[in-house]
Protein backbone atom coordinates (compact mmCIF):
# COMPACT_ATOMS: atom_id res chain seq x y z
CA UNK A 1 0.00 0.00 0.00
CA UNK A 2 2.48 2.50 1.25
CA UNK A 3 4.88 1.44 -1.41
CA UNK A 4 2.26 2.09 -4.13
CA UNK A 5 1.47 5.53 -2.83
CA UNK A 6 5.14 6.35 -2.89
CA UNK A 7 5.43 5.02 -6.42
CA UNK A 8 2.49 7.02 -7.78
CA UNK A 9 3.66 10.15 -6.07
CA UNK A 10 7.04 9.53 -7.60
CA UNK A 11 5.42 9.03 -10.99
CA UNK A 12 3.41 12.25 -10.81
CA UNK A 13 6.55 14.07 -9.77
CA UNK A 14 8.40 12.65 -12.73
CA UNK A 15 5.49 13.55 -14.99
CA UNK A 16 5.43 17.06 -13.64
CA UNK A 17 9.14 17.30 -14.30
CA UNK A 18 8.72 16.19 -17.89
CA UNK A 19 5.72 18.47 -18.38
CA UNK A 20 7.66 21.45 -17.04
CA UNK A 21 10.55 20.77 -19.36
CA UNK A 22 8.10 20.69 -22.25
CA UNK A 23 6.36 23.84 -21.07
CA UNK A 24 9.56 25.88 -21.14
CA UNK A 25 11.08 24.26 -24.22
CA UNK A 26 8.15 25.11 -26.50
CA UNK A 27 8.06 28.88 -25.85
CA UNK A 28 11.85 28.94 -26.04
CA UNK A 29 11.57 27.17 -29.38
CA UNK A 30 9.11 29.82 -30.56
CA UNK A 31 11.60 32.54 -29.61
CA UNK A 32 14.38 30.82 -31.55
CA UNK A 33 12.13 30.30 -34.57
CA UNK A 34 11.16 33.99 -34.57
CA UNK A 35 14.78 35.08 -34.40
CA UNK A 36 15.78 32.83 -37.26
CA UNK A 37 12.79 34.04 -39.29
CA UNK A 38 13.63 37.73 -38.84
CA UNK A 39 17.29 37.23 -39.65
CA UNK A 40 16.50 35.12 -42.69
CA UNK A 41 14.08 37.72 -44.01
CA UNK A 42 16.59 40.53 -43.60
CA UNK A 43 19.26 38.52 -45.39
CA UNK A 44 17.07 37.24 -48.23
CA UNK A 45 15.21 40.50 -48.93
CA UNK A 46 18.33 42.58 -48.42
CA UNK A 47 20.54 40.53 -50.70
CA UNK A 48 18.17 41.23 -53.62
CA UNK A 49 18.92 44.94 -53.42
CA UNK A 50 22.69 44.62 -53.50
CA UNK A 51 24.54 45.54 -56.68
CA UNK A 52 27.44 47.78 -57.59
CA UNK A 53 25.29 50.91 -58.02
CA UNK A 54 23.74 50.35 -54.60
CA UNK A 55 27.13 50.95 -52.98
CA UNK A 56 28.51 53.68 -55.24
CA UNK A 57 25.64 55.82 -56.61
CA UNK A 58 23.63 58.58 -55.01
CA UNK A 59 19.86 58.52 -54.56
CA UNK A 60 17.65 59.06 -57.63
CA UNK A 61 14.78 61.59 -57.68
CA UNK A 62 11.41 60.41 -56.26
CA UNK A 63 9.87 57.57 -58.21
CA UNK A 64 12.85 56.88 -60.50
CA UNK A 65 14.41 53.45 -60.20
CA UNK A 66 18.11 52.70 -59.89
CA UNK A 67 20.74 54.72 -58.13
CA UNK A 68 22.15 53.76 -54.75
CA UNK A 69 22.66 54.79 -51.18
CA UNK A 70 26.30 55.84 -51.10
CA UNK A 71 25.19 59.08 -49.42
CA UNK A 72 23.78 57.07 -46.52
CA UNK A 73 26.79 54.77 -46.19
CA UNK A 74 29.22 57.68 -46.10
CA UNK A 75 26.85 59.66 -43.89
CA UNK A 76 26.70 56.89 -41.31
CA UNK A 77 30.50 56.63 -41.29
CA UNK A 78 30.78 60.41 -40.82
CA UNK A 79 28.21 60.51 -38.04
CA UNK A 80 29.84 57.63 -36.20
CA UNK A 81 33.29 59.19 -36.63
CA UNK A 82 32.08 62.49 -35.22
CA UNK A 83 30.36 60.78 -32.33
CA UNK A 84 33.52 58.86 -31.38
CA UNK A 85 35.58 62.05 -31.47
CA UNK A 86 33.11 63.61 -29.05
CA UNK A 87 32.28 60.61 -26.87
CA UNK A 88 35.66 58.92 -26.44
CA UNK A 89 37.52 61.71 -24.59
CA UNK A 90 34.56 62.37 -22.34
CA UNK A 91 33.99 58.75 -21.47
CA UNK A 92 37.74 58.27 -20.85
CA UNK A 93 37.93 61.27 -18.52
CA UNK A 94 34.66 60.38 -16.81
CA UNK A 95 35.69 56.79 -16.20
CA UNK A 96 39.07 57.97 -14.89
CA UNK A 97 37.14 60.26 -12.54
CA UNK A 98 35.09 57.32 -11.32
CA UNK A 99 38.34 55.34 -10.96
CA UNK A 100 40.15 58.05 -9.05
CA UNK A 101 37.28 59.06 -6.79
CA UNK A 102 35.96 55.58 -6.10
CA UNK A 103 33.40 55.60 -3.30
CA UNK A 104 33.18 59.38 -3.02
CA UNK A 105 29.85 61.14 -3.03
CA UNK A 106 30.70 63.05 -6.21
CA UNK A 107 31.55 59.87 -8.05
CA UNK A 108 28.14 58.53 -7.02
CA UNK A 109 26.45 61.63 -8.44
CA UNK A 110 28.35 61.16 -11.71
CA UNK A 111 27.52 57.46 -11.82
CA UNK A 112 23.84 58.21 -11.27
CA UNK A 113 23.86 60.86 -13.99
CA UNK A 114 25.47 58.41 -16.40
CA UNK A 115 23.06 55.61 -15.50
CA UNK A 116 20.09 57.89 -15.98
CA UNK A 117 21.52 59.23 -19.23
CA UNK A 118 21.64 55.63 -20.43
CA UNK A 119 17.90 55.30 -19.89
CA UNK A 120 16.90 58.47 -21.74
CA UNK A 121 14.85 57.54 -24.81
CA UNK A 122 16.90 58.47 -27.86
CA UNK A 123 14.04 60.53 -29.34
CA UNK A 124 14.35 62.88 -26.35
CA UNK A 125 18.06 63.29 -27.11
CA UNK A 126 17.15 64.29 -30.67
CA UNK A 127 14.64 66.87 -29.48
CA UNK A 128 17.07 68.46 -27.01
CA UNK A 129 20.00 68.52 -29.45
CA UNK A 130 17.71 70.25 -31.97
CA UNK A 131 17.26 73.13 -29.56
CA UNK A 132 20.89 73.07 -28.35
CA UNK A 133 22.73 72.84 -31.66
CA UNK A 134 20.49 73.00 -34.74
CA UNK A 135 18.64 76.19 -33.83
CA UNK A 136 21.69 78.19 -32.60
CA UNK A 137 23.85 77.12 -35.58
CA UNK A 138 20.94 77.79 -37.95
CA UNK A 139 21.27 74.51 -39.77
CA UNK A 140 20.65 70.82 -39.51
CA UNK A 141 24.07 69.26 -39.54
CA UNK A 142 26.11 66.11 -39.25
CA UNK A 143 27.75 67.78 -36.26
CA UNK A 144 24.38 67.89 -34.46
CA UNK A 145 23.71 64.28 -35.46
CA UNK A 146 27.16 63.21 -34.26
CA UNK A 147 26.71 64.90 -30.89
CA UNK A 148 23.29 63.27 -30.47
CA UNK A 149 24.82 59.86 -31.19
CA UNK A 150 27.71 60.65 -28.83
CA UNK A 151 25.21 61.14 -26.01
CA UNK A 152 23.64 57.81 -26.94
CA UNK A 153 26.97 55.98 -26.66
CA UNK A 154 28.61 57.91 -23.81
CA UNK A 155 26.98 56.10 -20.86
CA UNK A 156 27.68 52.62 -22.24
CA UNK A 157 31.30 53.50 -23.08
CA UNK A 158 31.93 55.13 -19.72
CA UNK A 159 30.69 52.19 -17.69
CA UNK A 160 32.60 49.70 -19.85
CA UNK A 161 35.86 51.67 -19.72
CA UNK A 162 35.45 52.14 -16.00
CA UNK A 163 35.00 48.41 -15.57
CA UNK A 164 38.15 47.69 -17.57
CA UNK A 165 40.15 50.24 -15.54
CA UNK A 166 39.09 48.48 -12.37
CA UNK A 167 40.36 45.18 -13.79
CA UNK A 168 43.95 46.45 -13.87
CA UNK A 169 45.69 45.08 -10.74
CA UNK A 170 46.22 47.90 -8.25
CA UNK A 171 49.78 46.65 -7.72
CA UNK A 172 50.73 48.16 -11.12
CA UNK A 173 49.81 51.62 -9.92
CA UNK A 174 51.35 51.09 -6.50
CA UNK A 175 54.63 49.93 -7.99
CA UNK A 176 54.83 53.00 -10.22
CA UNK A 177 54.00 55.34 -7.37
CA UNK A 178 56.65 53.67 -5.21
CA UNK A 179 59.19 54.44 -7.92
CA UNK A 180 58.28 58.09 -7.59
CA UNK A 181 56.30 58.49 -10.79
CA UNK A 182 53.65 61.22 -10.46
CA UNK A 183 50.18 59.74 -10.12
CA UNK A 184 48.83 61.27 -13.34
CA UNK A 185 51.74 59.91 -15.36
CA UNK A 186 51.30 56.50 -13.80
CA UNK A 187 47.65 56.51 -14.81
CA UNK A 188 48.35 57.64 -18.37
CA UNK A 189 51.43 55.46 -18.94
CA UNK A 190 50.40 52.34 -17.05
CA UNK A 191 46.71 52.07 -16.26
CA UNK A 192 45.41 53.29 -19.62
CA UNK A 193 47.69 51.09 -21.76
CA UNK A 194 46.88 48.13 -19.55
CA UNK A 195 43.20 48.58 -20.27
CA UNK A 196 43.66 49.51 -23.92
CA UNK A 197 41.76 46.51 -25.19
CA UNK A 198 38.88 47.28 -22.86
CA UNK A 199 38.77 50.83 -24.19
CA UNK A 200 38.78 49.53 -27.75
CA UNK A 201 35.94 47.12 -26.97
CA UNK A 202 33.94 49.87 -25.30
CA UNK A 203 34.36 52.08 -28.36
CA UNK A 204 33.31 49.25 -30.65
CA UNK A 205 30.19 48.48 -28.65
CA UNK A 206 29.37 52.19 -28.43
CA UNK A 207 29.57 52.42 -32.21
CA UNK A 208 27.44 49.28 -32.59
CA UNK A 209 24.85 50.78 -30.28
CA UNK A 210 24.75 54.13 -32.06
CA UNK A 211 24.91 52.87 -35.65
CA UNK A 212 21.28 51.80 -35.78
CA UNK A 213 19.83 54.80 -33.96
CA UNK A 214 17.27 56.66 -36.05
CA UNK A 215 15.25 58.75 -33.64
CA UNK A 216 18.09 61.12 -32.61
CA UNK A 217 18.92 61.79 -36.28
CA UNK A 218 15.51 62.85 -37.63
CA UNK A 219 15.78 66.36 -36.18
CA UNK A 220 19.57 66.69 -36.35
CA UNK A 221 21.33 65.00 -39.30
CA UNK A 222 18.02 65.42 -41.21
CA UNK A 223 18.93 63.52 -44.38
CA UNK A 224 20.41 64.36 -47.76
CA UNK A 225 19.90 62.84 -51.22
CA UNK A 226 23.45 63.85 -52.17
CA UNK A 227 26.79 62.71 -50.86
CA UNK A 228 28.03 65.27 -48.36
CA UNK A 229 31.15 65.48 -46.22
CA UNK A 230 30.24 68.71 -44.51
CA UNK A 231 30.12 68.94 -40.72
CA UNK A 232 27.95 72.03 -41.00
CA UNK A 233 25.36 70.61 -43.37
CA UNK A 234 22.82 67.80 -43.19
CA UNK A 235 23.83 64.24 -44.09
CA UNK A 236 22.00 61.03 -44.77
CA UNK A 237 22.43 57.83 -42.75
CA UNK A 238 21.50 54.18 -43.19
CA UNK A 239 18.72 54.19 -40.58
CA UNK A 240 17.30 57.41 -42.06
CA UNK A 241 17.00 55.94 -45.57
CA UNK A 242 15.37 52.78 -44.21
CA UNK A 243 12.78 54.95 -42.45
CA UNK A 244 12.20 57.19 -45.48
CA UNK A 245 12.17 54.48 -48.14
CA UNK A 246 9.83 52.01 -46.47
CA UNK A 247 7.19 54.73 -46.02
CA UNK A 248 7.22 55.46 -49.75
CA UNK A 249 4.95 53.80 -52.34
CA UNK A 250 7.92 52.90 -54.58
CA UNK A 251 8.84 49.21 -54.87
CA UNK A 252 12.43 50.06 -55.78
CA UNK A 253 12.82 52.06 -52.56
CA UNK A 254 11.28 49.24 -50.51
CA UNK A 255 13.91 46.92 -51.86
CA UNK A 256 16.65 49.45 -51.10
CA UNK A 257 15.30 49.77 -47.55
CA UNK A 258 15.85 46.04 -47.09
CA UNK A 259 19.31 46.35 -48.61
CA UNK A 260 20.19 49.17 -46.21
CA UNK A 261 18.81 47.08 -43.33
CA UNK A 262 21.04 44.18 -44.32
CA UNK A 263 24.11 46.45 -44.44
CA UNK A 264 23.30 47.92 -41.05
CA UNK A 265 22.65 44.54 -39.42
CA UNK A 266 25.84 43.09 -40.92
CA UNK A 267 27.86 46.05 -39.66
CA UNK A 268 26.47 45.91 -36.14
CA UNK A 269 26.73 42.13 -35.96
CA UNK A 270 30.30 41.95 -37.18
CA UNK A 271 31.29 44.57 -34.58
CA UNK A 272 29.61 42.49 -31.88
CA UNK A 273 31.19 39.27 -33.09
CA UNK A 274 34.65 40.85 -33.34
CA UNK A 275 34.41 42.17 -29.81
CA UNK A 276 32.91 38.93 -28.53
CA UNK A 277 35.80 36.89 -29.94
CA UNK A 278 38.39 39.36 -28.56
CA UNK A 279 36.84 39.01 -25.13
CA UNK A 280 37.20 35.23 -25.17
CA UNK A 281 40.96 35.44 -25.69
Amino acid sequence: MENNAFKSRHQTRAQKDRFFKFAVMIPAGIVVALLVLILAQVVINGARALNVDFFFKEQKPFGETGGGIVQAIVGTIMLLGTSIVVALPFSLLASLYLYEHRGSKRAKVLATAINTLQGIPSIVIGVVIYSWIVVPLRSFSSLAGGVALAIVMLPLMTSMIHASLEMVPSSYLEAALALGVPRWRAIIDIILPASASGILEATGLGVARAAGETAPLIFTAFGNPFLSLSLKGPVSALPLVIYEYIKSPYDDWHQKAWGAALLLVLFVLSLNVLIGSRKKH
Partner: protein, 348 residues
Protein backbone atom coordinates in the same frame (compact mmCIF):
# COMPACT_ATOMS: atom_id res chain seq x y z
CA UNK B 1 56.45 67.51 -24.11
CA UNK B 2 56.64 65.21 -27.11
CA UNK B 3 53.10 64.14 -26.42
CA UNK B 4 51.95 67.75 -26.49
CA UNK B 5 53.51 68.40 -29.87
CA UNK B 6 51.94 65.27 -31.26
CA UNK B 7 48.60 66.27 -29.85
CA UNK B 8 48.80 69.74 -31.36
CA UNK B 9 49.80 68.36 -34.72
CA UNK B 10 46.89 65.95 -34.62
CA UNK B 11 44.49 68.73 -33.74
CA UNK B 12 45.83 70.89 -36.56
CA UNK B 13 45.41 68.07 -39.04
CA UNK B 14 41.88 67.39 -37.88
CA UNK B 15 41.01 71.07 -38.28
CA UNK B 16 42.51 71.13 -41.78
CA UNK B 17 40.47 68.06 -42.72
CA UNK B 18 37.30 69.64 -41.43
CA UNK B 19 38.10 72.83 -43.32
CA UNK B 20 38.78 70.91 -46.53
CA UNK B 21 35.57 68.95 -46.15
CA UNK B 22 33.57 72.13 -45.64
CA UNK B 23 35.18 73.75 -48.67
CA UNK B 24 34.23 70.74 -50.77
CA UNK B 25 30.65 71.31 -49.80
CA UNK B 26 30.35 75.06 -50.12
CA UNK B 27 28.05 74.73 -53.13
CA UNK B 28 24.97 73.49 -51.38
CA UNK B 29 21.51 74.72 -50.54
CA UNK B 30 19.08 73.23 -48.05
CA UNK B 31 15.31 73.28 -48.28
CA UNK B 32 12.54 71.40 -46.55
CA UNK B 33 8.78 71.18 -46.61
CA UNK B 34 5.95 70.23 -48.93
CA UNK B 35 5.90 66.65 -50.15
CA UNK B 36 3.29 67.56 -52.81
CA UNK B 37 5.92 68.91 -55.28
CA UNK B 38 8.76 66.66 -54.04
CA UNK B 39 8.87 64.41 -57.14
CA UNK B 40 9.18 67.55 -59.32
CA UNK B 41 11.67 69.24 -57.00
CA UNK B 42 13.96 66.24 -56.63
CA UNK B 43 13.93 65.84 -60.41
CA UNK B 44 14.67 69.55 -60.95
CA UNK B 45 17.46 69.55 -58.36
CA UNK B 46 19.01 66.45 -59.91
CA UNK B 47 19.14 68.27 -63.27
CA UNK B 48 20.35 71.46 -61.59
CA UNK B 49 23.24 69.53 -60.05
CA UNK B 50 24.14 68.09 -63.43
CA UNK B 51 24.23 71.52 -65.12
CA UNK B 52 25.65 73.73 -62.34
CA UNK B 53 27.34 71.39 -59.85
CA UNK B 54 25.28 72.88 -57.04
CA UNK B 55 23.67 70.35 -54.73
CA UNK B 56 20.22 71.29 -53.50
CA UNK B 57 19.10 69.09 -50.60
CA UNK B 58 15.31 69.08 -50.39
CA UNK B 59 13.82 67.12 -47.49
CA UNK B 60 10.14 66.33 -48.06
CA UNK B 61 8.84 66.51 -44.49
CA UNK B 62 5.47 68.21 -45.06
CA UNK B 63 4.43 71.83 -45.57
CA UNK B 64 4.02 72.58 -41.87
CA UNK B 65 7.50 71.26 -41.23
CA UNK B 66 8.90 73.47 -44.00
CA UNK B 67 7.16 76.52 -42.57
CA UNK B 68 8.48 75.76 -39.11
CA UNK B 69 12.02 75.27 -40.40
CA UNK B 70 12.00 78.59 -42.26
CA UNK B 71 10.51 80.22 -39.16
CA UNK B 72 13.42 78.80 -37.11
CA UNK B 73 15.78 79.88 -39.92
CA UNK B 74 17.43 76.45 -40.04
CA UNK B 75 16.99 76.02 -43.84
CA UNK B 76 17.63 78.21 -46.90
CA UNK B 77 14.08 77.84 -48.17
CA UNK B 78 10.82 76.25 -47.14
CA UNK B 79 8.38 74.49 -49.43
CA UNK B 80 4.64 74.79 -48.84
CA UNK B 81 1.44 74.30 -50.76
CA UNK B 82 -0.59 76.33 -48.32
CA UNK B 83 0.30 80.01 -48.33
CA UNK B 84 1.01 81.91 -45.13
CA UNK B 85 -2.06 83.89 -44.08
CA UNK B 86 -1.76 87.63 -43.32
CA UNK B 87 -2.53 86.94 -39.67
CA UNK B 88 0.36 84.47 -39.46
CA UNK B 89 3.07 86.78 -40.82
CA UNK B 90 3.79 87.94 -37.29
CA UNK B 91 5.10 84.45 -36.45
CA UNK B 92 8.10 85.02 -38.74
CA UNK B 93 11.08 87.05 -37.55
CA UNK B 94 11.17 89.01 -40.84
CA UNK B 95 9.27 89.59 -44.06
CA UNK B 96 8.84 86.46 -46.23
CA UNK B 97 7.95 86.04 -49.90
CA UNK B 98 6.14 83.25 -51.78
CA UNK B 99 7.54 82.07 -55.12
CA UNK B 100 5.15 79.82 -57.06
CA UNK B 101 6.91 76.85 -58.66
CA UNK B 102 4.50 74.29 -60.14
CA UNK B 103 0.83 73.37 -60.23
CA UNK B 104 -0.33 69.91 -59.27
CA UNK B 105 -3.46 67.99 -58.43
CA UNK B 106 -4.61 66.29 -55.26
CA UNK B 107 -6.16 63.04 -56.47
CA UNK B 108 -8.35 60.59 -54.60
CA UNK B 109 -6.73 57.19 -54.90
CA UNK B 110 -7.93 53.82 -53.61
CA UNK B 111 -7.14 50.14 -53.34
CA UNK B 112 -9.91 47.84 -54.61
CA UNK B 113 -9.79 44.43 -56.29
CA UNK B 114 -8.96 45.11 -59.93
CA UNK B 115 -8.80 48.85 -59.23
CA UNK B 116 -11.78 49.88 -61.45
CA UNK B 117 -12.02 53.51 -62.65
CA UNK B 118 -14.30 55.33 -60.20
CA UNK B 119 -16.28 58.57 -60.25
CA UNK B 120 -16.75 60.47 -57.01
CA UNK B 121 -18.31 63.79 -56.09
CA UNK B 122 -16.95 66.17 -53.47
CA UNK B 123 -19.95 65.47 -51.21
CA UNK B 124 -19.37 61.71 -51.33
CA UNK B 125 -15.66 62.12 -50.58
CA UNK B 126 -16.54 64.39 -47.65
CA UNK B 127 -19.00 61.85 -46.26
CA UNK B 128 -16.45 59.04 -46.60
CA UNK B 129 -13.93 61.06 -44.59
CA UNK B 130 -16.67 62.06 -42.12
CA UNK B 131 -17.23 58.36 -41.48
CA UNK B 132 -20.80 58.49 -42.82
CA UNK B 133 -20.16 56.26 -45.84
CA UNK B 134 -18.37 53.17 -44.55
CA UNK B 135 -18.80 50.51 -47.25
CA UNK B 136 -17.58 50.50 -50.83
CA UNK B 137 -20.94 49.18 -52.10
CA UNK B 138 -22.81 52.07 -50.42
CA UNK B 139 -25.78 53.26 -52.50
CA UNK B 140 -24.28 56.70 -52.97
CA UNK B 141 -21.06 55.39 -54.49
CA UNK B 142 -22.95 52.79 -56.57
CA UNK B 143 -25.24 55.51 -58.02
CA UNK B 144 -22.22 57.37 -59.40
CA UNK B 145 -20.67 54.18 -60.82
CA UNK B 146 -23.46 52.09 -62.31
CA UNK B 147 -21.07 50.13 -64.53
CA UNK B 148 -18.75 49.07 -61.69
CA UNK B 149 -19.42 46.06 -59.48
CA UNK B 150 -18.42 47.43 -56.06
CA UNK B 151 -17.24 44.99 -53.37
CA UNK B 152 -18.85 44.73 -49.94
CA UNK B 153 -15.70 46.01 -48.22
CA UNK B 154 -15.12 48.45 -45.40
CA UNK B 155 -13.69 51.80 -46.54
CA UNK B 156 -10.46 52.70 -44.76
CA UNK B 157 -9.86 56.43 -45.13
CA UNK B 158 -6.18 57.37 -44.95
CA UNK B 159 -5.14 60.91 -44.11
CA UNK B 160 -1.95 62.86 -43.48
CA UNK B 161 -0.70 62.59 -39.91
CA UNK B 162 1.76 65.44 -40.45
CA UNK B 163 0.81 69.05 -41.13
CA UNK B 164 0.40 69.23 -44.85
CA UNK B 165 -0.43 71.64 -47.64
CA UNK B 166 -1.96 68.71 -49.48
CA UNK B 167 -4.37 68.36 -46.55
CA UNK B 168 -4.93 72.12 -46.68
CA UNK B 169 -6.02 72.02 -50.32
CA UNK B 170 -8.02 68.83 -49.88
CA UNK B 171 -9.93 70.17 -46.87
CA UNK B 172 -10.37 73.55 -48.62
CA UNK B 173 -12.14 71.70 -51.42
CA UNK B 174 -14.27 69.61 -49.05
CA UNK B 175 -15.20 72.75 -47.09
CA UNK B 176 -16.24 74.38 -50.35
CA UNK B 177 -18.56 71.55 -51.34
CA UNK B 178 -19.82 70.23 -47.98
CA UNK B 179 -21.29 72.51 -45.32
CA UNK B 180 -21.12 69.69 -42.80
CA UNK B 181 -17.39 69.31 -43.45
CA UNK B 182 -16.91 73.05 -43.14
CA UNK B 183 -18.62 73.23 -39.75
CA UNK B 184 -17.37 69.94 -38.28
CA UNK B 185 -13.80 69.65 -39.53
CA UNK B 186 -12.80 72.81 -41.40
CA UNK B 187 -9.79 73.70 -43.47
CA UNK B 188 -6.16 73.66 -42.27
CA UNK B 189 -2.78 71.99 -42.69
CA UNK B 190 -3.79 69.44 -40.08
CA UNK B 191 -7.34 68.90 -38.91
CA UNK B 192 -9.02 66.64 -36.39
CA UNK B 193 -10.08 63.71 -38.57
CA UNK B 194 -13.40 62.09 -37.67
CA UNK B 195 -12.35 58.71 -39.17
CA UNK B 196 -9.43 56.86 -40.63
CA UNK B 197 -5.71 56.20 -40.31
CA UNK B 198 -2.87 58.69 -40.41
CA UNK B 199 0.28 58.34 -42.48
CA UNK B 200 3.21 60.72 -42.81
CA UNK B 201 3.79 62.61 -46.06
CA UNK B 202 2.35 62.10 -49.53
CA UNK B 203 4.61 59.10 -49.95
CA UNK B 204 3.33 57.62 -46.69
CA UNK B 205 -0.35 57.97 -47.62
CA UNK B 206 0.34 56.44 -51.04
CA UNK B 207 2.32 53.66 -49.33
CA UNK B 208 -0.46 52.80 -46.87
CA UNK B 209 -3.18 52.89 -49.56
CA UNK B 210 -1.07 50.69 -51.79
CA UNK B 211 -0.67 48.14 -49.00
CA UNK B 212 -4.21 48.27 -47.55
CA UNK B 213 -7.11 46.72 -49.49
CA UNK B 214 -10.29 48.81 -49.15
CA UNK B 215 -8.44 52.00 -48.35
CA UNK B 216 -8.90 55.46 -49.86
CA UNK B 217 -6.43 58.33 -49.69
CA UNK B 218 -5.56 61.71 -51.17
CA UNK B 219 -2.15 62.29 -52.73
CA UNK B 220 -0.49 64.37 -55.39
CA UNK B 221 -1.06 62.97 -58.89
CA UNK B 222 2.62 62.11 -59.43
CA UNK B 223 2.65 59.75 -56.44
CA UNK B 224 -0.39 57.87 -57.77
CA UNK B 225 1.03 57.62 -61.30
CA UNK B 226 4.54 56.64 -60.27
CA UNK B 227 3.21 53.72 -58.27
CA UNK B 228 0.43 52.70 -60.69
CA UNK B 229 -2.42 53.59 -58.39
CA UNK B 230 -5.88 54.64 -59.68
CA UNK B 231 -7.30 58.17 -59.32
CA UNK B 232 -11.02 58.92 -59.22
CA UNK B 233 -12.68 61.29 -61.69
CA UNK B 234 -14.32 64.14 -59.81
CA UNK B 235 -17.32 66.28 -60.78
CA UNK B 236 -16.29 69.93 -60.89
CA UNK B 237 -18.42 72.97 -60.12
CA UNK B 238 -19.60 73.14 -63.74
CA UNK B 239 -20.97 69.61 -63.43
CA UNK B 240 -18.31 68.02 -65.67
CA UNK B 241 -16.54 64.76 -64.72
CA UNK B 242 -12.81 65.42 -64.94
CA UNK B 243 -9.75 63.28 -64.48
CA UNK B 244 -6.65 64.94 -63.14
CA UNK B 245 -4.43 65.59 -66.16
CA UNK B 246 -2.03 68.23 -67.43
CA UNK B 247 -4.85 69.85 -69.39
CA UNK B 248 -7.41 69.87 -66.58
CA UNK B 249 -4.86 71.13 -64.03
CA UNK B 250 -3.68 73.94 -66.32
CA UNK B 251 -7.30 74.87 -67.07
CA UNK B 252 -7.98 75.49 -63.38
CA UNK B 253 -5.07 77.94 -63.20
CA UNK B 254 -6.02 80.01 -66.24
CA UNK B 255 -7.61 82.88 -64.30
CA UNK B 256 -6.11 86.12 -63.01
CA UNK B 257 -2.94 85.92 -60.89
CA UNK B 258 -2.25 88.17 -57.87
CA UNK B 259 1.15 89.92 -57.66
CA UNK B 260 2.05 88.25 -54.35
CA UNK B 261 1.06 84.88 -55.91
CA UNK B 262 -0.98 83.78 -52.90
CA UNK B 263 -4.03 82.16 -54.48
CA UNK B 264 -6.01 78.94 -53.95
CA UNK B 265 -7.05 77.03 -57.08
CA UNK B 266 -9.54 74.56 -55.57
CA UNK B 267 -13.15 74.30 -56.78
CA UNK B 268 -12.33 76.22 -59.94
CA UNK B 269 -15.13 77.48 -62.12
CA UNK B 270 -13.20 76.70 -65.31
CA UNK B 271 -15.37 74.33 -67.33
CA UNK B 272 -12.70 71.68 -67.94
CA UNK B 273 -10.75 72.40 -64.77
CA UNK B 274 -9.84 69.72 -62.21
CA UNK B 275 -11.44 70.79 -58.91
CA UNK B 276 -8.59 69.96 -56.48
CA UNK B 277 -5.70 71.62 -58.34
CA UNK B 278 -3.14 73.42 -56.23
CA UNK B 279 -0.25 75.81 -56.57
CA UNK B 280 2.86 75.19 -54.51
CA UNK B 281 5.39 77.72 -53.32
CA UNK B 282 8.93 78.15 -52.13
CA UNK B 283 9.15 80.50 -49.18
CA UNK B 284 12.24 82.57 -48.41
CA UNK B 285 13.07 85.70 -46.46
CA UNK B 286 12.97 88.87 -48.54
CA UNK B 287 16.07 90.20 -46.79
CA UNK B 288 18.73 87.50 -47.07
CA UNK B 289 21.28 89.00 -44.70
CA UNK B 290 20.50 87.23 -41.46
CA UNK B 291 22.40 84.99 -39.05
CA UNK B 292 25.73 84.23 -40.76
CA UNK B 293 24.43 84.12 -44.34
CA UNK B 294 26.81 85.33 -47.02
CA UNK B 295 26.01 87.24 -50.20
CA UNK B 296 27.18 84.16 -52.11
CA UNK B 297 24.53 81.98 -50.45
CA UNK B 298 21.84 84.54 -51.22
CA UNK B 299 22.95 84.64 -54.87
CA UNK B 300 22.92 80.85 -55.12
CA UNK B 301 19.41 80.81 -53.74
CA UNK B 302 18.07 83.55 -56.04
CA UNK B 303 19.69 81.94 -59.10
CA UNK B 304 18.14 78.59 -58.20
CA UNK B 305 14.68 80.14 -57.86
CA UNK B 306 15.08 81.93 -61.20
CA UNK B 307 16.12 78.65 -62.85
CA UNK B 308 13.15 76.81 -61.33
CA UNK B 309 10.54 79.13 -62.80
CA UNK B 310 12.23 79.11 -66.23
CA UNK B 311 14.44 76.18 -67.33
CA UNK B 312 13.25 73.99 -64.46
CA UNK B 313 9.72 74.07 -65.83
CA UNK B 314 10.81 71.79 -68.69
CA UNK B 315 11.07 68.82 -66.35
CA UNK B 316 7.71 68.96 -64.59
CA UNK B 317 5.26 67.83 -67.26
CA UNK B 318 6.83 64.40 -67.49
CA UNK B 319 5.81 64.01 -63.84
CA UNK B 320 2.22 65.21 -64.42
CA UNK B 321 2.68 68.66 -62.91
CA UNK B 322 1.47 71.63 -64.94
CA UNK B 323 3.92 74.39 -65.87
CA UNK B 324 3.31 77.81 -64.41
CA UNK B 325 1.12 79.95 -66.73
CA UNK B 326 2.73 83.13 -68.17
CA UNK B 327 1.12 85.54 -65.64
CA UNK B 328 2.39 83.42 -62.74
CA UNK B 329 5.94 83.44 -64.14
CA UNK B 330 5.74 87.21 -64.50
CA UNK B 331 4.64 87.60 -60.90
CA UNK B 332 7.34 85.15 -59.73
CA UNK B 333 10.07 87.07 -61.61
CA UNK B 334 9.09 90.29 -59.87
CA UNK B 335 9.09 88.55 -56.47
CA UNK B 336 12.54 86.99 -57.01
CA UNK B 337 13.91 90.38 -58.09
CA UNK B 338 12.60 91.87 -54.85
CA UNK B 339 14.87 89.62 -52.76
CA UNK B 340 17.66 91.68 -51.21
CA UNK B 341 20.96 91.25 -49.40
CA UNK B 342 21.71 94.08 -47.01
CA UNK B 343 19.11 96.17 -48.82
CA UNK B 344 20.59 95.61 -52.30
CA UNK B 345 18.75 93.43 -54.85
CA UNK B 346 20.48 90.04 -55.13
CA UNK B 347 19.68 89.53 -58.81
CA UNK B 348 20.60 92.47 -60.99
Amino acid sequence: MKRNVLFRRGLLMALCLIGAASALNAQTLLGSGATFPAPAYTKMFDEYYKTTGIKVNYQAIGSSGGLKNIQDRVVDFGGSDSFVKDTDFAKYPASIVHIPTVIGAVVVTYNLPGNPALRLTGEVIADIYLGKITKWNDKRIAELNPAVKLPNMAIMPVYRSDGSGTTFNFTAYLSAVSTEWKSKVGNANSVSWPAGQGAAQNAGVAGVVKQTPGSIGYVELAYAHQSNMPAAAIKNSSGVWVDASLASISASAAGAFPPDSRILLVNTNAKEGYPISALTWIIVYREQKYASRTLEQAEHLAKLLWWMIHDGQNFVEALDYAKLPAPAIKAAEAIIKSITYDGQPVLK
